[in-house]
Symmetry: C2
Subunit: 182 residues, 2 copies
């Protein structure tokens, strides 16, 4: 239907406002996160020989009273899921989180959306680093120690994170592995 | 210009996405706040005979790295201003705030915008209570003790606030005024 159809024009307006809402809400509440999970007993398995696994997730957390906004995000993107947050951080209400962690969902849906519709806060820089890390994983770089160090170096500057010095020293074999999770 | 003009159509798209961005960003980062400021030495002046003044403000706070997003809000609404935040809360970077506090700006610009474009989180309920308080002020209710109690009662349920029991007891004359600010 063309824009001569008033109902269609209204849907188109709603759609554009919704796109904007997603950008703004993620500017405020979204988190692009790269984690390092120790897998000490699985080094013989494919993909675990470094002793660490990389996790990548796009997360938005809200209190129970605003869980409908998370479902709106899930409906909008058509990937990921809404679940209760295990961390409560002393809040008075239950927290919920919308999470997209599957690499294919990130590469096919989340990253192209924010590539086309850039964030308008400093979170855009975090998104670009996140994107770089996911691409490195896609290329298999996370399966090698040098690749893991490269990813750790990028994440050092994301989300006000602390330096990854200890993790990087372990990966380089300069220090015993005493991390439970990096 | 009509929608046949491609440049105009693109501007219209941009405008709708920007409207959505403002809604989403405020859903994430906005705060509708009502305060009670003690004015103990000005009771003889018009508007201060209750000993308290009501403040009302729409505020969005960001770190220095995202101050451009606050300027985008200021440009969008055409009212309010961006300034440095006096409270640092132990953050590593300076905080900035976009504030609209003038009653006329709230009634003429901010409230009508969010009336037309509702928030999609629990913050919508805070906005509606804020709106009610600003309307009570517009009607002069904040200049009377009963009106101030009415406003205090509404704010008790806003922004996860604690009860206003102490302020309300002072206003009712049941307890000596020991508040510096309610």
């Amino acid at each position: 239907m063309g824009s001569d159809n008033p109902a269609s024009a209204e849907n188109q307006q709603e759609r554009l406002i919704r796109i904007g809402w997603v950008i703004g809400f993620v500017d405020g509440e979204g988190c692009f996160s790269i984690g390092f999970v120790r897998q000490p007993n699985r080094r013989s398995r494919r993909g675990y020989k470094t002793g660490f696994q990389v996790s990548h997730s796009f997360v938005v957390v809200q209190g129970a009273a605003s869980v409908s906004a998370l479902h709106e995000l899930a409906d909008f993107f058509g990937v990921g899921s809404v679940g209760i947050n295990r961390r409560h951080d002393n809040h008075k209400e239950d927290l919920y989180r919308y999470t997209v962690a599957r690499r294919d969902d990130l590469l096919r849906v989340i990253i192209p959306f924010f590539e086309q519709h850039p964030l308008r806060t400093a979170k855009q820089a975090d998104f670009e680093k996140f994107w770089e890390c996911v691409e490195l994983c896609k290329a298999g770089r996370h399966l090698t120690t040098t690749g893991l160090i490269e990813i750790a170096r990028i994440t050092e500057t994301m989300n006000h994170r602390k330096p990854r010095t200890h993790l990087i020293r372990i990966l380089r074999g300069h220090t015993p592995n005493t991390l439970d999770a990096g």
